[in-house]
Amino acid sequence: MGDPFSLEVAHTLSSCMSGIRTAGDLVLRMQLAKSMRIDEAKKYVAEKLGVEPIDLSDSDRMFEIRKKLNLGRPFDLNRAPKGIEAKINIARVLGITINSVELFKEKTGF
């Protein structure tokens, strides 16, 4: 979005997926890792999660899926995987290499 100052909430409400409230972070990972355009990235993530692409922006649907697959979520965090723990699961589910996950494994002797 370029400079986000004072604009983040407007963009998110108007037109963005909303990150870990839905599957926005997962779709962005495919763009950043594989240069996928938006429809291709959504299709890839949807197939990996076993849903339709339109479900990826549905916070109610995605909350349950993220909970089931341990992919991290903004609330209801009691005993839930957080941060790097969730990203280890994301790397496995999406079939991608996440830099911080690899470093974590290296540093902790995985």
Partner: protein
């Protein structure tokens, strides 16, 4: 005659008739098509821009299922340095993730330039490491190539902005070429440090701000970063809608860089290996929001039609159809988003 509330490019409110809005949309489209030598929008697309501009409601949104994802430029600095909230940057990453619903964010330094960051990168990497331990969404590191910082007295090379008015063209060109080498080295160095700290990507923000040499440095840095760290994503964000020819003769892969508009800029970013391209279309403050929006969508649609990598459109203050004002009104911001995504086929913001 009914009038609709809309805005000027400087953000001030204005009432315009349907005819006036439609005429401004047409003229905005024609201006982009003429400057960029790209196709005009269709009549249906211009009608849809009119519909978006005149929709009732303060904010508007994209159709269900058309949502995109976002990246940012200096996203983690906004709460900390700019809004002066006493907060460490890796904490602002978590606020962006859990409270604001961001799809990603970039960590950056107060002096958002690779040259400045190089000196203190050892204090920047722990911030990235902490953010990576705690955040779920992708976290990038961002800064600007900012080629001008390499000029004397702050930097090592002669100042081409002083040389050019003295008609020392060859000297000005030589100075820019030397600055490119320094800038590439710094960008690749910082990218390597951030890769070692776990960053998901590096954001080269405002590529071309100092002209075509600045743009070349960013392309060469992208090439080297992808060669050394293939798993590190590279977002290549432009500084303006066309590249200024401060040098004028620089080429990348046989293409002269000066004067390129977004639909040609993206092809160079692709060749260099960028994963995401951030096109810019500048806002003209003297023209209306409908004029600026139509013009922006024309450029972005042409860019999207040739792009093979995702486009994250710059929609900050003064770009992407958004009025040039520090607190852009949400009516204009959300209308710009909707038009850029539904007509311009943007992949992200």
């Amino acid at each position: 005659m009914d009038k609709y509330f809309t805005r000027m490019g400087d953000g001030s409110g204005v009432y315009m008739s349907a005819e006036e809005i439609k005429e401004d949309i047409l003229q905005g489209v024609k201006d982009a098509a003429d400057r960029g030598k790209i196709p005009e929008l269709t009549a249906e697309e211009m009608d849809y821009i009119f519909e978006i501009v005149t929709m009732p409601g303060n904010i508007v949104g994209v159709e269900r299922g058309r949502e995109v994802v976002n990246t940012s430029d200096s996203g983690s600095c906004k709460m900390t340095y700019h809004a002066n909230i006493a907060m460490e940057r890796s904490t602002s990453v978590l606020v962006s993730e859990k409270v604001l619903g961001a799809d990603s964010v970039d960590i950056g330094n107060m002096d958002y330039s690779y040259k400045a960051v190089k000196q203190i990168v050892h204090n920047e990497t722990p911030v990235m490491e902490l953010a990576q331990l705690n955040a779920v969404m992708p976290v990038l590191y961002g800064s600007m190539p900012n080629l001008g910082l390499y000029t004397k007295p702050d930097g090592p090379v002669d100042n081409w902005s002083e040389l050019l008015p003295m008609a020392k063209i060859d000297e000005a060109r030589a100075a820019q070429e030397e600055a490119v080498e320094h800038a590439v080295r710094d960008m690749v160095f910082v990218a390597g440090e951030m890769y070692a700290a776990g960053a998901d990507g590096i954001n080269l923000d405002t590529c071309g701000a100092s002209g075509d040499a600045d743009y070349l440095a960013s392309l060469l840095a992208t090439e080297k970063i992808k060669e050394k760290y293939p798993n590190l994503g590279v977002e290549f964000g432009a500084a303006g809608e066309f590249v200024l020819g401060m040098h004028g003769k620089l080429e990348y892969e046989g293409t002269r860089i000066a004067g390129l508009y977004p639909h040609k800029q993206v092809k160079l970013a692709e060749k260099a290996g960028a994963n995401i391209f951030g096109p810019v279309v500048n806002t003209n403050t003297s023209n209306s929001f409908p004029w600026n929006l139509a013009r922006t969508v024309t450029f972005i649609k042409a860019c999207s039609e040739v792009a093979e990598i995702p486009l994250h459109i710059n929609v900050g203050m003064g770009v992407g159809g958004v009025p040039m004002t520090e607190i852009p009104p949400v009516d204009a911001v959300t209308r710009a988003d909707k038009a850029l995504i539904e007509i311009g086929k943007a992949d992200g913001l």
